[in-house]
């Protein structure tokens, strides 16, 4: 048994948790989520570099919420989403225990969000090299080239909404895209509709996205949608100085303001 498995077994046994959300092995060495409700099942649990999925997304599911005491295995992105979700009043009714494994391979257990917040702030992640490179490329393009790039990308979108499904911040019980009175976004996957969907998604996540990159990773047609919100977060941090998933009561860049916000673009 790994230290992680030992720890989780212990948590089950002393009654701290009644449901554990973690990862287990799948074919091709991939990691998939697993849900275990008894100490006897802990041997499935793994924690490898492949464990990228953001498990906090499951905390919104009614079935999960029914469990009284939830344990969740969290990588750094998941920890950030927990912090952000807390700041958005989404976790107040869930009794949770957060487990993570640090760089020294030690298993850490947090029983409250203050500790999670502290850990996140001490281990705040940077953008991946790959994302940095992509963003740089896009930003060095001319406007027309960028338009061309995104047009081609969005043309491929099939509106499967996988990006939404994996996003821990997309927790609305009904989404604007499903709103038909009025119909904000065309249902069919034609390109203006696709563009609107992605614009709206990016706007709704700007200043809230915690850069886990799941949306881009999951996209079946390979659109790097996560870059939109990644860029927005950079712009927002530069402009307003706020970071996402950093503090449980940091607020949201777009529901506050400063009288001195820049306005050179306003005539």
């Amino acid at each position: 048994m790994t230290p992680l498995q030992n720890k989780v077994a212990e948590l089950f046994e002393n009654g701290t948790i009644s449901l554990m959300i973690g990862y287990k092995n799948a074919i091709n060495k991939l990691a998939v989520p697993c849900f275990i409700d008894h100490a006897t099942q802990v041997e499935q649990l793994i924690y490898t570099p492949e464990c990228k999925g953001n498990l906090s997304v499951y905390l919104h599911k009614a079935e999960i919420k029914q469990a009284k005491k939830i344990g969740i295995l969290a990588n750094i992105a998941t920890l950030r989403s927990l912090v952000q979700l807390t700041s958005e009043n989404q976790l107040s009714d869930i009794e949770k225990t957060v487990i993570t494994i640090n760089a020294q391979n030690e298993v850490l257990v947090f029983d409250n969000m203050e500790k999670v917040e502290e850990y996140v702030q001490a281990n705040f992640p940077e953008y991946t090299e790959e994302d940095k490179k992509l963003l740089e490329q896009l930003n060095s393009m001319t406007r027309a080239e960028r338009w061309q790039y995104w047009s081609e990308q969005f043309a491929a979108c099939v509106k499967c909404y996988a990006c939404r499904a994996v996003c821990p911040m997309c927790y609305c019980s009904s989404c604007t895209v499903e709103c038909n009175q009025p119909q904000w976004i065309k249902v069919s996957s034609e390109t203006t509709g696709n563009l609107e969907w992605h614009t709206m998604r990016a706007m709704h996540l700007a200043g809230r996205c915690i850069n886990c990159g799941e949306c881009g990773r999951i996209c079946p047609v390979g659109i790097p949608v996560h870059l939109l919100t990644a860029q927005m977060n950079l712009d927002i941090e530069k402009e307003f100085g706020s970071k996402t998933g950093f503090s449980c009561n940091s607020g949201y860049a777009l529901n506050t303001f400063k009288p001195e916000d820049k306005e050179q673009f306003i005539k």
Partner: protein, 154 residues
């Protein structure tokens, strides 16, 4: 002489400052271009960015968004919130390669009828020079072409 392109421009304005400013331009009989039509909102804070997207999708060539000057908002802070939203929205559009020059953001107070008229003329002229907004239309065509092209090559 070829006929001059006349753009369609939608103005999203707040009721208290810019709408009143536009009314003042009227009472002062200040003349300006016919290209701009106003949609009245209670406050710039109410203006949803999706409405701007829908306007472009439905054939607008340009957009004016205008409200009260900072600190003058009838509702104290709607324009400040709007300003933040525009900052982010503009930077998103720019990152997606959208021509943000097609959107004029402005503060026009209830006393600035002349400024309103000037803003309309200036925006109309700018959009006229840019020509019709076709990015969205092209988008649909190119998709269609791409799909048919893919279909043929496969």
């Amino acid at each position: 002489m070829s006929e001059q392109f006349e753009p369609k421009i939608v103005a999203f304005v707040c009721n208290w400052c810019t709408y009143a400013g536009a009314d003042l331009a009227g009472t002062s009989r200040t003349k300006y271009a016919t290209n701009v039509s106003i949609i009245r909102f209670p406050c710039t804070g109410r203006i949803d960015f999706m409405l701007l997207m829908k306007a472009f999708e439905n054939g607008a060539d340009g957009i004016i968004v205008s409200g009260c000057h900072p600190n003058d908002c009838h509702y104290t802070s709607g324009n400040f919130h709007a300003r933040r939203r525009w900052i982010v929205f503009r930077s998103l559009l720019d990152f997606m390669g959208f021509d943000t020059d097609r959107i004029t953001f402005s503060w026009v107070s209830a006393a600035e009828g002349a400024k309103w008229a000037g803003l309309v003329d200036e925006t109309t002229q700018r959009i006229r020079e840019k020509g019709a907004f076709t990015d969205f239309k092209k988008l649909d065509c190119s998709t269609f072409e791409k799909i048919s092209h893919d279909a043929i090559t496969e």
